[in-house]
């Protein structure tokens, strides 16, 4: 496995060690380790079914690992549900976006973390106001605050999902195929946003099967195949073809097959 040339003196923001999970006898993720430093983007690459989403869902609390340890800032973390993950400032943008289509943008943004009045009632006014502020920053064209999100375009829905992750001061951001449903213009916006968040010191796991995305946006890339980690490489040290070889053949550059 290629060791990161980043200084070992720094504690990683996230460290997942020997993560395992199986579904009905199939080892979806088999002893996989990965780490992420503050202000860094780590790409997770692999074919469909390679286990990248599954690995990340153990971090976001959607799945519970069979075994393995997660360390946040060097401290052991117990994450058994999405609420736990949120407590560690882990925010996730799911591939499916995980929006309640019948609710408006503000309700979705604050879902599970509603702003309330002193009487304990949900404060729709305050939430819409906050939503307008963050949307003005992320997607200034966004105007449909009163509509259910089912009435929004793919890009608008994506920006609601991103706003939800960004609003709550995420320190660890997981993005699962954030540009899969987007056009070139919107993809560019997401790329700019990633750069901005990185500069703010947020660590980002970016799941993708688009090598160009990864080469352009990521600092390091971890490649998975059949539930196992092929290797982790510095993006600057490898070519597109090297990454492709890791994804398809399970070979790390120079080391031969794992």
């Amino acid at each position: 496995m290629t060791q990161s040339n980043r200084a070992d003196s720094r504690t990683p923001l996230v460290e997942m060690r020997n993560m395992c999970i199986s579904f009905g006898g199939v080892h979806a993720v088999d002893h996989v380790s990965a780490d992420l430093y503050a202000g860094e983007v780590v790409g997770l690459l692999g074919h469909n079914g390679a286990g990248k989403s599954t690995l990340i869902k153990m971090l976001s609390g959607a799945y519970q690992a069979d075994s393995g340890d997660i360390f946040i800032n060097g401290e052991r973390a117990t994450i058994t549900n999405p609420r736990d993950a949120r407590r560690y400032n882990i925010e996730t943008i799911y591939q499916t976006l995980a929006l309640a289509d019948n609710l408006d943008a503000a309700s979705n943004l604050f879902l599970g973390r509603e702003l309330v009045t002193p009487w304990g009632l949900v404060d729709d006014g305050a939430m819409e106001s906050e939503t307008r502020k963050i949307m003005a920053r992320l997607n200034p064209n966004f105007q449909k605050f009163a509509n259910p999100v089912s009435a929004l375009s793919g890009g608008q829905r994506q920006s609601v999902a991103i706003a939800r992750a960004v609003y709550f001061d995420a320190r660890i951001l997981i993005m699962d195929e954030p540009t899969a449903a987007l056009g070139p213009h919107e993809t560019q916006m997401v790329a700019e946003l990633i750069g901005q968040l990185k500069a703010d010191g947020i660590g980002i796991f970016l799941i993708s099967h688009d090598i160009h995305d990864v080469m352009q946006l990521c600092d390091r890339a971890s490649v998975m195949k059949n539930g196992k980690l092929v290797g982790t490489v510095d993006v600057d040290d490898v070519t597109d073809d090297d990454l492709l070889g890791m994804i398809i053949l399970g070979k790390t550059p120079g080391n031969g097959a794992v």
Binding site: N81, A98, N102, L111, G112, S129, S150
Partner: protein
Amino acid sequence: MTHSEATPASKPARKSIIQLLELDLRLLGMVVAFAILCIAFDLATGGRFLTPRNIFNLTIQTVSVAIMATGMVFVIVTRHIDLSVGALLATCSAVMAMTQTQVLPDMLGLDLGHPLIPWVTIAIGLLAGTLIGAFNGWLIGYLTIPAFIVTLGGFLAWRNVSWYLTSGKTIGPLDPTFMKFGGISGTLGATGSWIVGGLALTGALYGLYAARRNKKKHGFTIKPLWAEGMMAVIISTAILGFVAILNAYEVPARKLKRMFEAQGETMPEGYTVSYGIPISVLLLIFVTVAMTILARRTRFGRYIFATGGNPDAAELSGINTRWLTVKIFALMGALCAISAVVASARLANHSNDIGTVDELRVIAAAVIGGTALAGGAGTIYGAILGALIMQSLQSGMAMVGVDAPLQNIVVGSVLVLAVLVDIIYRKRTGEA
């Protein structure tokens, strides 16, 4: 995103009056349908349908189903169903009937008519309903048995628990205070009704004002003042008109005479007493307001709709959807208990067949009221209006003299037709 820029330009700048008033089109449609129905029956019965007396009867007949329908909205919105509400009502009614006629007087030695009896009875009934509902919710949420199956089983089981508890006998007479919750034997009278009407009016107007102030505070667009004024006029007319109609229904002179004679007095000439708002209707109004606040202004309500719209998203947002299911069904159970108070009090006794086919009437009311079986959409006021439409249809046809089998055929057809209209409406407006 180009789409959102293009829309304002392509739309005419002038908004329609309905948009300006921010009226719910679906609600408007239902109100119009209901009005047409009432007028048609009034014409067909030669003016007997829209009399204060009949309107009074309609409201008290609707209460029991309407209370349960508000809970059914939550159940259906989260993509569940409850087929056991009628049976649950019967069990709660049986528990309360036994409590007030046998358990409390015989075992605890409270005399019949003791002032504590009705309140202890109601508390026990509510507890029973809530626990049974929570049990259903646990089976559905935690053991993941489909709601259809759990409540189909409950439909048989609880109906017969009720039978078992009472040995199938009719239990009565019930406590006189308890019976005040039934309708005609417990009303507020003219003055009381006007006071309630005044309070309701104040509350509604304050609600309008507070909503406007809140929008202003956050700098959102507000309706023009005349539109707010028009809403205020519509609401005031509705509230005060309702009170006036119920107050116009007077206690029959013969009944009054008998009451005076019973006290050894003679009735003064020209003496009249109004019934006014029945306590059961007041109860329904409280339930409606409370359930609407729950649905719209609390996290609980927000989570119900989010879960109905996308259960996975709700789960990933950290909502404990299993516990939510338990709470929803517990609430449904509590509402069944309240309905049981109203239903048994109206009959003045507990009978073995109380609440039969209520499950279907409750589901029909919620669905006619615009609750989508696919989940995620539904309103409390819609369900109440749905219950009112069902009841009007039923009693209207009875008054016109439609044969009983035909009545049920019509009601069944209307249910199916209402859902078809709803589907077409949703397609047109592009709602999910």
